[in-house]
Symmetry: C2
Subunit: 331 residues, 2 copies
């Protein structure tokens, strides 16, 4: 893969993608309460994304939905002068499921396949209802912040797997939406699998696939902790790993900070209900993206640190007071 | 096209599609109240669809969403014995927008194109948020009635137009979902247009395209009146046209009832806010489907008449007391 590192961007795109952003499920939902969005975080995240995508300070909501409890539409059509342009830079957003979908998937075993079983088929339907509910609310929040967001649900956009690896994905639909000036919003989803019938395709795997084909300038993972730690971040002595270098063979090591007696093996906790694997998957996926020569930032959502990561200003130099984890390719 | 009338069904499908159903926007939403679903009708329609798709009387909800106002999930996993099979016959459902989407589309002029205008781009985003909100609630209602429904949003499934005619459509994604035992649920949508930038692709045009390629045994349009009338059905002397014959040249004539002094030209009303054209489009689209040798039934949703149409029993013989309009090909 190393020979691909400096390849030009996908020929189907007239301009390269600037950034792929993962909205971690834990950052935008209340992970311990079923199907509940963290509205405050989602609002700040949406606002930060607009600031980094659109240079202008002016924005108008693109969510013209009926205001709950009224018969009115929140629509300010008169604000749309032809002056107000949306020359948004090219972003792709992918979100996780958090407290949406996991219950339905794990209860039915959708990730293990076996679509001929009624429970699995029903769980597939129930999982998709849950994750598309979240997707719609995220698209709505982004639109409300002035971002021309477009939901693209992987299952219905032709994404499928074979033995849990991606077998097909309708990338032209994604690039066409980007070329038309929209911000595609994908998500972890239940999909068909050629070998086991069905499975769960995680947002992290989707991001790796998109990164490999769209070659963004950088990738940002927004999460609910400051980055990757040497042990579970709830432990008092946990140390934030600020820079991880990934080598050509896929192995990785901590460059900053230089710690005495640090565990060589970074301890990882995986929430029991996380059917797609937690931080283990995240680091492995991030390392594979970094191997393509694309910087990856893992950072706490809705903070000044996430705004810096999203803006791309860390690509030149990471300030000492920045909190987060940079994962970079090194020769 | 006449030579195609008796052609075999699409080779990609192991079994032919039984029926394509249009859920008319007027039948499942409150057309005079913005973004409001007609829950009662939608519930009856969902139940009638399950009765005609699944032979068994037993069913379990496949909507395991959090119950509003509680922190509980409505999920009855224990009811899923391996005995409970979903050998649903192959249906495709397409719904209109009703009081969803029309406001956003007409306010911004999405149907007229011009995506470089900020108002049109914002309207495109707003329209899709509104129609996908409706789609999700219909998928949820169908799943609650025990139907393995899968939302497939045309824009994100690769449907696009050229000069408002369909230019591309990801039919393999639809047939793959059907082959996997799911019921795809598509809808009228804002889509990209090669010539004018964007437009509205109506549910009726989607149905014609699906009918031409999937060759269902019959097509049912569920609407809010008993069928097609010789004049606006609100007029006291309006007569229900029970049978319309379509000839090879696309012209059509009323076979039943035989009326003295009937208007040759059937009067049609089009609601002012219906950006995709009302009954004019519907009859024209229905006639084009009938020309393929596929019977079309236009019938009032959530009635004993709609249940008969959905079941397919009208294909042999239409009883005299059945209320609705049959549109058939005649040589």
């Amino acid at each position: 893969m190393a020979s691909n590192v400096n390849e030009t961007n996908n020929a189907n795109l007239t301009k390269p993608i600037r950034c792929i952003v993962k909205l971690g499920g834990a950052a935008i939902t209340c992970k311990n309460e079923l199907e509940k969005i963290n509205e405050e975080n989602l609002g700040i995240v949406s606002s930060q994304l607009r600031q980094t995508m659109v240079s202008s300070e002016n924005f108008v909501s693109m969510d013209w939905s009926r205001i709950p409890g009224t018969s009115e539409i929140a629509c300010n059509v008169d604000s749309f002068g032809d002056q107000l342009r949306f020359d948004a830079s090219k972003f792709v957003i992918v979100h996780g499921a958090g407290s949406f979908g996991h219950f339905q998937a794990s209860k039915s075993g959708v990730h293990k396949g076996g679509m001929d079983r009624p429970l699995v088929k029903a769980g597939f339907v129930a999982t998709r209802i849950s994750v598309t509910t979240l997707n719609l609310e995220i698209v709505r929040a982004l639109a409300r912040a002035g971002i021309p967001s477009i939901g693209m649900s992987p299952f219905s956009c032709g994404w499928s797997t074979s033995g849990r690896n991606i077998a097909s994905a309708d990338l032209p639909a994604v690039t066409k939406a980007i070329e038309s000036g929209f911000i595609p919003v994908l998500h972890g989803d239940a999909v068909l699998d050629d070998l086991q019938g069905c499975t769960i395709l995680s947002g992290d795997v989707i991001i790796r696939h998109l990164a490999a084909h769209l070659k963004p300038e950088y990738v940002v993972f927004l999460t609910d902790v400051f980055g990757v730690y040497d042990r579970p971040p709830t432990e008092p002595d946990a140390v934030l790993l600020k820079e991880i270098a990934v080598r050509e063979d896929g192995s990785w090591s901590v460059m900053k900070p230089t710690l005495q007696g640090m565990n060589k093996q970074v301890e990882i906790t995986v929430a029991a209900h996380d059917t797609t694997g937690g931080m283990v998957t995240k680091i492995a996926e991030a390392a594979m993206i970094a191997k393509l020569g694309i910087d990856v930032y893992i950072v706490k959502a809705a903070t000044s640190h996430s705004l810096k990561a999203l803006s791309g200003e860390l690509r030149g130099n990471v300030p000492d007071d920045w909190l987060g984890t940079v994962i970079r390719f090194t020769r």
